[in-house]
Amino acid sequence: MSSVLYDAPGPRAKRRNIILSVVFFALLALLAWWIYRALDDKGQLEWALWEPFTESEAWTTYLLPGLGNTLKAAGLSMIIALPLGAFFGIARMSDHRWVRIPAGAVVEFFRAIPVLLLMLFANEFYARSTDVSTDDRPLYAVVTGLVLYNASVLAEIVRAGILALPKGQTEAAQAIGLRKGQTMTNVLLPQAVTAMLPAIVSQLVVIVKDTALGGVMIGFTELLNSRGTLAAFYATVIPSFIVVAIMYIILNFILTSFASWLEGRLRRSKRSTGAVLGAEDVEELNAAEIGGAYGSGASA
């Protein structure tokens, strides 16, 4: 089997690869040793620092409630952002200028601004102009920031999902006499939704990660913030960071794996045109693509 970069390897290539493997392994081992030594020197490997994480209280008091809030904020944001995103996505494809252009402007605007600023601003807005209680305010602010940003990204995913379908699907639907609305609901949306699923799941990863901004900047008690309280009680700073990082990795890894499993399944599925928006199409969907998308749909 050959790839874009490599010819099918012969015996010499195979030998060279083995040597490279050994050298690289040695380098990795060296790095691991250095990390181990540094941690050991600073006493970070002492059992006392790690022991708390074997106690159920550390989890039930700090980490799990924090994780719960992380998931709550992420879930809420996704649930609110989805319909909003679908609305703006479809509005952006409208035949009418006065619908298409404002929708496009809103989407572009919120995608250009850092989520962190949106959160800070929302937090201040709720504090000054509403009577949301202090308990709830950080959650509100985090969810608001995430919704504004992610609805715009989802709007682009929805649009891309529909545009990714072969043009022939629309034409065939029109050719048997289906009207615009019927074509959208009977032919395009069902296929686009399937095509978008992996993209939507992997957008959840972005949302989960962004909840941590709320922890550091506006005191939302999500996982990263709960780590602070935990670290104060158990006096275990570095280990708590490592544990929390691993929790994020596992959580997001589950989501990513689910997304790519879904993607693979859909691509192989006998029920799709093969138009699938993968995880990679989303991670940081951005203005550059959109600038291009204004052009004609006819790219050869």
Partner: protein, 222 residues
């Protein structure tokens, strides 16, 4: 109307944002290219390392990485980047290190997907006329991959610009830090929000449009 801006160095804060962005961009381009080279290498161990790096780093919140550079890298691993005693410079440099570590994962993926857009047929045709490995790489694959990578890289750059606000978490005096400070001290929340939003729109939108245009222009016609 804009008198609430008095006494605040908004331009200075955005200048820090720009510096963070540019320096991190250069760093992550280098590290990301190396990672991409590993990810597409024929050596399974390197591929494994590249894949693991990308999948781990992409799944950690940037905030965690940035805070960790400060209390972990600097304090435990003594990575002080030549600024052991100048803490202002230290957190600036550490945050760049964090952005590089994080953004490189995305750069790597952009480059890898750029390479994947080159049809295998191009490489096979090149091999079939007797070009060697390096010739195929430098004459055929990379020139084509480079062009299709501009678009995705532009997205990474824009995301990076926005992500630099996370440096506020370790006290780097960039735009988000200043906005937080101003919001605490001044009454015109809406106006402050608008000023900073506008600042980022100015930073990201033209970049996106220009690079989008460039990638269209350079795109390999197939």
């Amino acid at each position: 109307m804009f008198d609430f801006l008095e006494g605040y160095d908004v331009l200075g804060a955005f200048w820090t944002t720009v510096q963070l962005t540019l320096l991190s961009a250069v760093g992550s381009l280098i590290w990301g290219t190396l990672l991409a080279a590993m990810r597409v290498s024929p050596v399974p161990l390197m591929r494994g390392f590249g894949t693991a790096y990308v999948n781990i780093v992409r799944n950690i919140p940037l905030t965690v990485i940035i805070v960790f550079t400060s209390i972990g890298l600097a304090d435990i691993f003594r990575v002080t980047l030549g600024a052991a005693d100048d803490f202002e410079a230290l957190s600036f440099r550490l945050s760049i290190l964090g952005f590089v570590a994080y953004t490189a994962a995305f750069v790597c993926e952009a480059i890898r997907s750029g390479i994947n857009t080159v049809p295998v047929g191009q490489a096979e045709a090149a091999r079939a006329i007797g070009l060697s490995f390096t010739q195929v790489l430098w004459l055929i694959v990379l020139p084509q991959a480079f062009r299709s990578v501009i678009g995705p890289l532009a997205n990474v750059l824009i995301a990076l610009t926005k992500n630099t606000t996370v440096a506020a978490a370790i006290g780097v005096a960039e735009a988000a830090t200043l906005m937080k400070e101003m919001i605490e001290n001044e009454a015109q929340t809406l106006a402050i929000g608008a000023v900073f939003a506008f600042g980022f729109v100015v930073l990201t939108l033209p970049t996106g449009l220009f690079l989008g245009w460039l990638s269209k222009r350079l795109a390999v016609k197939r």
